[in-house]
């Protein structure tokens, strides 16, 4: 994947956690892009086709979500329960993981632990090799995107077949996913048709760009793979600690194919994807589909517990992945980011995501949650770390919080990660100096009033137009597209001092 940036030093600054252990080395894998967000956004904003594709797709899904959420009169209560269940999971995570391990093992499954992405990939590759297979079918999984599993398997001579339609489009297009739920959301039907014509062997050259025809081409392309695959790799949407049950939520049936037909199933899952009890799923199976695809229920949800004789894979491996998550857990506010159930609602409502798309974020986790989770998982190494720019990729409009089914206060986490970004500076930057000076000026009324006098200068710049159209850098980023009003002749403070608030005239500013 072109956005990988493995060698980047990512030192977690633990200086204000004195006396506490270092929780985790930073996560590795596809969690960091090569350029800062504003630079990447610059390119993406110019791509008019991308803008059109994203605007259309996110608009449709926002509408669907709003419709099915409005149907439930207990939606808020479900969100509150979901949020509280996840908070409880975080407070008991190690115990619950041990309970999960015990139950999976008791039912004939094998549990593996991976400290980081490389270790997870190694475990999976070894397990595949042990079966003698040289290919695997895959269910869409963010965890395997995070670790870069496909590339790691390829290095071992193992071919990984993505079977989710959107993942297939991304894989065939030698592209990177740009959305958690619909990884090819940046592509339109005619682009997808071109990819299929170019990359699918035996495809009908008369293939039209109708979504049904394209879906049927994917069906034909993958069917033989499903029916012959010996090994499948999946992610998991939920794992139930008290029963050892795993769950995959999907639409196309590719998940069922992978979870059912092969002899061996390997599931890679982030350690946070737990719920304590079977009945807790009653909350999440309502929150997730309505928030993600905007349906009352997704077409297929599969649950399985270990190995069932005579039904499905007779060998089951569960790989539990840390890769920076323990560091996130150690942050009292930040651990809320681990509550995420990857529904993608926050992406779909985000006005920034809608305009730049997922690739601008660099990480496999884009959008509002990606803008906090990615730097939390990797740590921020300094002002030039691309992930240092992610928390600023938001106007803090708050639409993400309203949409989030587990009530993650993403705006607050963005602010906290901005602080982490600022605190990662080894030396003060120009911005640091400017804001520190402003803080000094603004914490005293005398100094503040004096600073306001400097605004008179602005009136000179504005001249007789009453408007400023061009300012020096960095304020040129403002005046590139917006005028600035000339400062008024009299500030509110001066007006009050002069009139005691009794004066209605003197409205002129010239």
């Amino acid at each position: 994947m072109s956005t990988t940036h493995l060698g980047m030093p990512a030192v977690r600054d633990d200086s204000h956690d004195t006396g506490l252990p270092t929780y985790s080395p930073a996560g590795q894998g596809n969690l960091r892009g090569a350029t800062s967000f504003p630079k990447a956004a610059h390119e993406k904003l110019l791509d008019t086709q991308l803008r059109r594709n994203l605007g259309k797709a996110t608009g449709i899904i926002r509408g669907k979500r709003a419709g099915v959420v409005a149907e439930l009169d207990d939606w808020e209560e479900l969100r509150l329960a979901g949020s509280a269940i996840k908070a409880d999971v975080m407070a008991r995570l190690p115990e619950l993981l041990e309970q999960l391990e015990e139950n999976v093992t008791a039912r004939g499954g094998h549990v593996h632990w991976a400290r980081d992405a490389a270790e997870a990939n190694r475990i999976v590759a070894d397990l595949v090799r042990a079966t003698g297979a040289d290919e695997v079918v895959k269910v869409k999984s963010m965890a395997t995107q995070e670790t870069g599993l496909n590339e790691a398997l390829a290095e071992q001579g193992i071919a990984a077949w993505e079977t989710d339609l959107a993942e297939l489009i991304v894989q065939l297009g030698h592209d990177a996913p740009s959305h958690i739920l619909v990884p090819a959301i940046h592509r339109n039907r005619s682009e997808i048709r071109e990819i299929f014509l170019r990359e699918m062997p035996n495809v009908d050259p008369a293939l039209a760009d109708d979504p049904r025809e394209l879906a049927m081409a994917a069906r034909a392309h993958l069917r033989r793979k499903f029916l012959t695959a010996k090994v499948a790799v999946s992610g998991a949407n939920f794992a139930v600690a008290d029963t050892g049950t795993l769950s995959v939520v999907e639409s196309e049936g590719n998940g069922r194919m992978c979870l059912t037909l092969p002899d061996t199933l390997i599931t890679l899952m982030g350690v946070e994807k737990l719920v304590p009890t079977w009945s807790d799923l009653e909350v999440f199976l309502q929150l997730l589909p309505r928030s993600s695809t905007g349906e009352r229920m997704n077409p297929y949800t599969s649950t399985w517990t270990g190995v069932t004789p005579g039904d499905g894979p007779q060998e089951f491996h569960l790989v539990l992945l840390d890769n920076g998550r323990s560091a996130v857990l150690a942050d009292e506010d930040g651990r809320a980011a681990l509550h995420c159930i990857r529904c993608s609602a926050c992406l779909n409502v985000c006005p920034v995501y809608e305009r730049v798309g997922g690739h601008a974020y660099g990480s496999v986790y884009p959008g509002p949650i990606g803008a906090v989770l990615s730097p939390m998982l990797t740590g921020i190494s300094g002002p030039d770390d691309p992930n240092a720019s992610l928390p600023y990729a938001s106007s803090l409009c708050g639409a993400c919080f309203d949409a989030c089914p587990v009530r993650i206060d993403i705006p607050n986490l963005l602010v906290q990660q901005r602080a982490a970004s600022v605190e990662s500076h080894p030396r003060p930057t120009a911005q640091d100096l400017a804001l520190r000076a402003a803080a000094v000026a603004m914490s005293s009324p005398g100094r503040f009033a004096a600073a306001e006098k400097g605004l008179a200068l602005g009136r000179l710049v504005a001249g007789r137009k009453g408007r400023i159209s061009s300012l020096p850098w960095p304020l040129s980023h403002w005046t590139d597209s917006r005028d600035v009003p000339a400062p008024p002749a009299e500030t509110a403070r001066q007006w009050w001092a002069r009139t005691g608030g009794n004066d209605d005239e003197q409205e002129g500013r010239a």
Partner: protein, 265 residues
């Protein structure tokens, strides 16, 4: 609470608030020690640097917590939001629990203008007159941090002479976002373009909102393109009466004036 932006750049919103509240029979004081709530620092990640600003704000406005004043009002959803939802967090993060508690006491009596009018004072018809075609942009922080919901619309509907037109996709952010507008200027502009398209589609002559900052952004874009649509703070509209509808007062822009300044004389 005049807010630093209101004080320095948009005194009309502050004056409008004062005039309106006095007209409704309330006593208004302007604590001269006030400076800035620290929102820019907080939202840019300078949480440590924001601590003195929070402390100063609490020092200046603490009389409200002791019942000396009944309420603190600001003609800004985002500044009110910062006081109510971030001041205590900033103090706690710095380990100053005492400051956090004082900040919470002040925050508990701090209101955005439409909240004060509708919830605290119980008025929706403030006796205003504003004969213009107006569209209202609900700013994100008033909408989603403070949940003012349709209170500003209730107030606007009661204004005589005012023709209120609904703004399509009103709840989508205008792209301001404080330092976002500078740090991610291009994305901010792309968001602004859509907001302007919707504003222009309403054929309104005035776009109003409860935050001078967002209006500065929207007005800056509308002005740059010479669209002939002006931005006016909600407080100014609510402060207007038949008596104040002189040509100059009616055109006092909250964002950027389109007319050359001398035309205002």
């Amino acid at each position: 609470m005049a807010t630093c932006l209101g004080d320095a750049m948009f005194p009309q919103a502050v004056k409008g608030t004062v005039k309106l509240l006095r007209r409704l029979g309330h006593e208004v004081v302007f604590p001269e020690g006030q400076t800035c709530c620290g929102q820019m620092h907080v939202n840019t990640g300078y949480l440590r640097e924001a601590v003195p600003l929070v402390r100063h704000h609490v020092d200046v406005f603490e009389p409200v917590a002791h019942g000396e004043w009944d309420a603190v009002v600001a003609p800004s959803g985002s500044c009110t939001g910062c006081v109510r939802h971030q001041h205590a967090m900033v103090a706690r993060r710095a380990g100053d629990e005492a400051l956090a508690e004082r900040a919470e006491a002040v925050a508990g009596r701090t209101y955005e203008l439409s909240e004060l009018l509708v919830d605290v004072l119980g008025v929706t018809d403030v006796g205003a007159y504003y004969p213009h075609r107006v569209t209202y942009h609900p700013t994100c922080h008033s909408l989603r941090m403070l949940r003012v919901a349709d209170k500003p619309l209730q107030l606007l509907r009661a204004v005589r002479g005012l023709e209120l037109v609904e703004l399509p996709d009103a709840e989508v952010c205008c792209g301001f976002g404080g330092t976002f507008a500078v740090k991610n200027g291009e994305t901010s502009t792309a968001m602004l373009a859509d907001k302007m398209r919707n504003v222009l589609g309403t054929r309104a002559e005035v776009c109003t909102a409860g935050d001078s900052s967002c209006l500065m952004h929207i007005g800056g874009g509308l002005g740059r393109l010479r669209t002939g649509v002006r931005t006016v703070h909600l407080a100014e509209i609510l402060a207007s009466t038949e008596a104040s509808q002189t040509p100059a007062a009616a055109g006092s822009a909250g964002g950027v004036r389109d007319e050359p300044a001398e035309a205002q004389r």
